[in-house]
Amino acid sequence: MYKHTGSRGSGAPGWVLQRITGILLVVVVIGHYFIMHADPASGHTYSAVLERMHHPFWKMFDLTFITVGLWHGLNGTWGIFRDYELKPAVSLTIYGIIILSGIAFWVLGVNTILSF
């Protein structure tokens, strides 16, 4: 019955969360882009970034951003693969890569944020 990895559940919790995290990200990503990428004077020197990174608000902002952003991106990527009829071994491999790389990059990012 469970022929394909990931087809066991209905996928409904992921579907709802994809929308909720998406709504959050619309605000956070566009805000981030206007603050960090649009303004050339927003401070990209080491000292300016450190000053921001020591602030608890920006720390929380970045931790939320990295967690929600990675989850939304990887859940979406898995959702694309789920649309196609993959062999169980292929499906499991892709799922493994998504989960493991997601955890690895989350740890890498969180380590950067929390080292200040």
Partner: protein, 138 residues
């Protein structure tokens, strides 16, 4: 669920053969931009690990990222952000706010507002070179 046999000519050909209306293109673009943005988060995380390697490593890296080529790439990246964000709102409206009745109108707004914001972001990002260019003409 019954096991669906694969179409004889493979999924790529089948997908290409579908008649695509505006919504299909919106769906395709949403997937491509989503994959692109996910890849970019990974790059973004790797790039910023240089913060833990001290001031020189980080500032050297930032010198590269503020070159014109990277600034233009950064601007182009905004088109992925803005499209994925606005079309995402459209998807939520279709799913939760009876948007299936007016999704083509929202799509027009998505593209229209997206292009306006993309150009606006270009002005914000390249304010200085643009001002200098006009100053030199005068």
């Amino acid at each position: 669920m019954a096991y669906q046999p694969k179409p004889p000519e493979g999924w790529l050909k089948t997908n290409l053969k579908y008649t695509k209306q505006s919504g299909s293109w919106a769906w395709i673009l949403h997937r491509i931009t989503g994959l692109g943005l996910t890849a970019y988060i990974y790059l973004h995380i790797i790039a910023l690990t240089s913060l833990t390697k001290g001031a020189k490593a980080f500032d050297d890296e930032m010198k590269l990222f503020t070159t014109p080529v990277f600034k233009v790439l950064e601007w182009l990246l905004f088109s992925l952000v803005i499209y994925h964000a606005f079309n995402g709102i459209r998807i939520v409206l279709v799913d939760w706010a009876n948007g299936a009745r007016y999704h083509k109108k929202i799509l027009t707004v998505v593209y229209g507002l997206g292009i306006v914001l993309f150009i606006g972001m270009g002005f914000l990002m390249f304010r200085e070179p643009i001002t200098n260019m006009f100053a030199s003409i005068r």
